[in-house]
Amino acid sequence: MLVIPEDPRLDQYVLKPILEAMFKRLGRPRAIVRVCQDPVLGGVDQATNWNRIEEILDLYRGMVDIFLLIVDRDGQDGRRSALDSIEEKAREALPPGRHFLAENAWQEIEVWVLAGLDLPAGWSWQDVRTEPHAKETYFMPFARKRGVVEEPGEGRKRLTLEAAARYDRIRRLCPEDVASLEDRLAKLLVPPGLIRDAEAPWGGSQVPSSEAT
């Protein structure tokens, strides 16, 4: 899987461990999860710009089974429809056996980290979940409280590794994004492994068209 974040510089510390934990739960503990480093999209506007996505697909279409675009929802109800549009374009652009999924994290990906950790007394999970600026309002104060903001990813590396060890809790507390994404991935991973498509350049993978999303 190639993960396409809004900005890999910080997002990589969150996305890779949590997605690896997701694959582990799906029975694929050795799945290769790489975070796309170039281009640095630098924000949701660029991340939802089809030209930028198309550039990434061209670089990796011969080797990646599943592309996953992850952006922050930022409290925007319309973000899902923008992602649906990109998924549709990607489906047309990719060769058979390659898949493209897009997900918006409610409301920012740092909330996934907080979902796996014990929150300070007095914090409401519902407040964290609905706050459009959860990174500034909750994650950074949490990281400061833990004394890890000087560590890689302003504490994201350490805190995410801790959180990913409790992936089931993340999944339970984030049904709209994490659990939904996991369900969509499960449909692509047809046991006992991806069905190989001999016509794809590297052996490829193919799911029955009725199950492809």
Partner: protein, 122 residues
């Protein structure tokens, strides 16, 4: 390096580690051009290592054919070496993207990691 290459008694084989060290980026192409010229004359052979994307971007077509990637896969103890043009998809991608950017972006490491996964996944 220049003294060795242009001296009166050059060796037949050179190994330079981190070719770009101490050289201004705008002069790297001159050094590479000299090396490629001397090697093309057929009297010397050279192996060099580099971490510099910019230097890779200056490689001529023939030198690029000989360029290899040294890498270590996650959770693997040993380093490996592979000719860049033998990395799956490299020949296609290099028709539209320069090697400097592919190196700087981690694409080369991505490509060998995904390729290894395809070899080992049943």
């Amino acid at each position: 390096m220049i003294a060795a290459l242009l001296g009166t008694q050059p060796a037949r084989f050179y190994f330079f580690e981190e070719l770009e060290n101490g050289i201004h980026p705008t002069r790297l192409n001159l050094l590479l051009a000299l090396i490629e010229q001397k090697v093309a004359q057929g009297n010397i052979q050279m192996v060099a290592t580099s971490h510099s994307p910019q230097l890779l971007g200056f490689l001529g077509a023939k030198a690029r054919e000989s360029a290899s990637l040294c890498y270590r896969l996650a959770n693997q103890p040993e380093a490996r070496i592979r000719r860049i043009m033998d990395i799956p998809e490299a020949a296609r991608v290099l028709t539209g993207h320069d090697l400097a950017r592919l190196h700087a972006s981690g694409w080369l490491e991505d490509a060998v990691a995904f390729a290894e996964d395809r070899k080992t996944t049943p």
